[in-house]
Amino acid sequence: MILLVLASLLPLFRRAERPQDAAAELVARALTGDRRAFDDLYRAHIVGAHRLLTRLVGPTPDRDDLIQQAFLEAFRSLASFRGDAAFATWLHRIVVHTAYRHLRRQPVRAAELPEDLPSLAASPEHLAHQQQELGRALGYLSALKPKKRIAYVLRVVEGMSLDEIAVLVGANAPAVGQRVKHAQRELSAMVERDRRRQEPS
């Protein structure tokens, strides 16, 4: 009898231990119309989603809208969250799609200066240098096609494995690998060309 009771309580303990289960509970509450659950989901995931989005599209002025778009899209399609993956992964997939749609709409252009101060503890000179570096990096990235850009950022900047990226972008790992490789080659060529131009002839 005692064993039976303990066995029935076991899932509860497991739930308390796993953050994805906490998210799943919030999702379940949101699906019943619990307004607070939406806010809690937002608060729990805004920083991660914002970081990913920033790395994908750069600190553009559109970022505020994009992050809201991503969350609203997630909230609207909460019913399709089946809990197979962690909520964060599911949300990040939406963030990646939002970024992809945004990048596809953008014409090839020079990079925008970041809206936010990248490193708040840095001196203005250092900050200016960082901004120039960032502007240059974004300039290179903006010359890549969106799919390559996203694959490159997720692999090289986020440090994700090809399999993880494949889940996020809805492609297979070898295809993602090809995208990263092509992006690397194109970026290397751009950097090299700039370097040669800056060297005294």
């Binding site: 809208d65 609203l72 709409r105 120039q132 990096a137 290179y140 900047v157 090809l162």
Partner: protein, 607 residues
């Protein structure tokens, strides 16, 4: 590329953990400078991109959540509804259709669209130089049409559409054609709209389901900030413009951003916040925009921290009393003379959700202290979009409200019934006239002369520390630094920081002012190049091209040269191909693989 280099590349892509491969790659990198450089390049790119992702501050996070709140409310409400059997709505629809057919069959006439008596627009912010009583009139009433004078701005909620919000920039006239679904007519002026549900603007053939957009009737221009809309047969997506290029303005985009960030119509209990004084942007601590002073705004009752931009920025904690007008004391001594105008709003507040009778005639009353929907007033100053000033604007077709004309209105909050007289509200900047407190420029020594006063470097270090947690606090400290040590080596850095901070919170004029001051100073600093570049980016549309041209002359070796050249070529290409060709050619010569190169090639070949 050798096979060893290819292996290095593949290892980077796949992140292999195979020990043999790792050993080979490491050995190859040890003696191949080209591969080492490539790997270092990617590391540097990754580092630069990682440095850009400072986490969003509390205020931004709260603002985004607040902006999404109407949609989330809607989602939550829909989810909370018990599941409805599919046939029930259908049965209702059939029954309703049958009832309508029977009704009109019995009457023997076709339905007509009601165009009057739709008191659905409920203003909650009135900004501009109109009199206190005119502002009181607006905030007290509901209107089926709003006519807003030049130099003034009115934000309004919509009774029949909880998620809709309008901002009318004068001179403008907006009328409600139908309440549900909401249909508007923009006869003149500029209208900024956030609508999460179906909305039409009939005379500009505009239809949208969920979008944030701006329409300028005079310039026949539409700009969509979020969502998309149908404009006749054309579909305009987020970030898109429609209409003549000459009519597109940065001011419209800025106004729309302010509109999107504006405070929402407050739920009861609410009170009125009155801010007098010279024109300055006012917001509340959460980041929500109120508008330009002088203004009156209906805000939730309770504690509030109001921030009025300027030098120095004024930050005032204030308690908003329900159904009362609370004046914000300004640093320059100006206060709103709320007197009898206040009593009108109080009266209207008491019955803020009651119905009001439509008024069909215009008349004139000598006093400005009246509350009524049919107000007529003189206009002053230029509008936010640079429209011509000086013509009278009339707001008609509107409903009378609970407040009454001068002399008939009790200040106890109880409205007198049926006394909605038509009135004229006199215009004029009767609340302005004070001058902003001037800054103290000193010659590099601490103005206060305190023996224990912090040094410039101490102040700057304090500001840097505060930047991480309290940007407003950092701005205050940087302001102190500039006030005490305007000629110190840290002054340029402080100005550059202030510009970035002002820009981050959307105060472009303050950002420009800080950069101008930095560029005017004689300090030799590495910040002159980025400051000049940023200044050009923040310039008004008309000034941007000359600014960037001057930038190229003054900073020929700037790291921003490629961006500036691309911008100039693109800008010239928008008007005259001939002007764009040499710039595009120069870009291609200097930056043949730059991000703008494909477009530059098009421009170089254009005729």
């Amino acid at each position: 590329m050798t096979s060893a280099c290819r292996e290095v590349e593949t290892a980077q892509v796949t992140g292999t953990t195979d020990e043999q491969v790792t050993a080979r790659v490491t050995a190859h990198l040890a003696h191949c400078a080209a591969c080492r450089a490539r790997v270092a390049d990617h590391d540097r790119l990754a580092l630069a991109l990682r440095a850009a992702d400072a986490p969003p501050d509390e205020v931004s996070r709260a603002r985004w959540l607040a902006q999404m709140a109407p949609t989330i409310d809607d989602l939550a409400t829909r989810r909370a509804r018990p599941p409805v059997r599919r046939w029930i709505p259908l049965a209702f629809a059939v029954a309703a259709a049958a009832a309508i057919i029977l009704w009109f069959g019995a009457r023997g006439s076709a339905p007509s669209v009601a165009t009057h008596g739709l008191e659905v627009l409920r203003p909650y912010v009135a900004s501009g130089t109109s009199s206190e009583s005119a502002k009181a009139t607006l905030l007290a009433g509901r209107f089926s049409a709003l006519e807003v004078a030049a130099g003034e701005l009115v934000r309004a909620g919509v009774d029949s559409c909880a998620s809709c919000r309008l901002t009318v920039i004068g001179p403008a006239r907006v009328a409600v054609v139908r309440a549900e679904p909401l249909e508007l007519e923009l006869a003149s002026g500029t209208l900024l709209v956030s609508a999460a549900q179906s909305l039409r603007i009939t005379n500009v053939a505009l239809r949208t389901q969920s979008a944030v957009f701006a329409v300028s009737a005079e310039a026949a221009v539409v700009f969509v900030d979020r969502g998309s809309l149908e404009l006749g047969d054309e579909r305009v997506a987020a970030g898109g413009w429609s209409g003549p290029v000459a009519g597109r303005s940065a001011a419209l985009v800025t106004s729309l951003r302010d509109h999107a960030n504006a405070i929402a119509p407050p739920a009861e209990p609410s009170g009125i916040l009155a801010i007098a004084g010279p024109q300055a942007q006012a917001s509340i601590e959460s980041g929500a925009v109120l508008g330009a002073t002088p203004l009156w705004a209906r805000v939730p009752a309770g504690p509030l921290v109001v921030i009025v931009a300027g030098a120095p920025e004024q930050r005032t904690p204030i308690e908003i009393a329900p159904r009362a007008v609370t004046n914000l004391p300004r640093a320059d001594g100006t206060t709103a003379a709320a007197g009898s105008a206040a009593s009108m709003v109080l009266a209207a507040s008491a019955e803020s959700h009651g119905d009001v009778a439509p008024v069909s005639r215009d008349a004139t009353a000598p006093s400005g202290d009246t509350a009524d929907g049919n107000a007529r007033r003189g206009t002053h100053g230029d509008s936010a979009l640079g429209n011509a000033a000086g013509r009278n604007a009339r707001r008609d077709g509107a409903a009378g409200v609970g407040g009454n004309a001068a002399g008939g209105n009790p200040a106890d909050g109880s409205p007198a019934d049926g006394n909605a007289a038509d009135v004229t509200v006199t215009g004029g900047s009767d609340v302005t006239g004070g001058s902003a407190a001037g800054g103290n420029a000193t010659d590099g020594k601490a103005a206060s002369g305190d023996a224990g006063a912090p040094t410039a470097s101490q102040l700057y270090a304090d500001a840097e520390r505060l930047l991480a947690t309290d940007r407003a606090g950092a701005e205050r400290v940087l302001g102190q630094l500039l006030e005490r040590y305007p000629a110190s080596p840290q002054a340029a850095s402080a100005l550059y920081d202030l510009a970035n901070l002002a820009r981050a919170r959307g105060d472009v004029p303050a950002a420009r002012a800080a950069l101008d001051r930095l560029l005017r100073s004689s300090a030799a600093t590495a910040l002159r190049d980025p400051a000049a570049y940023l200044r050009c980016r923040l310039a008004e549309a008309a000034d941007a091209a000359p600014c960037f041209e001057a930038f190229r002359r003054n900073f020929a070796d700037s790291a921003h040269d490629a961006e500036v050249l691309a911008w100039l070529a693109g800008h010239a290409g928008a008007t005259r191909c001939a002007d764009a060709r040499p710039l595009a050619a120069e870009y291609l010569r200097r930056y043949p693989r730059g991000p703008f190169a494909p477009h530059a090639r098009e421009l170089a070949a254009c005729k």
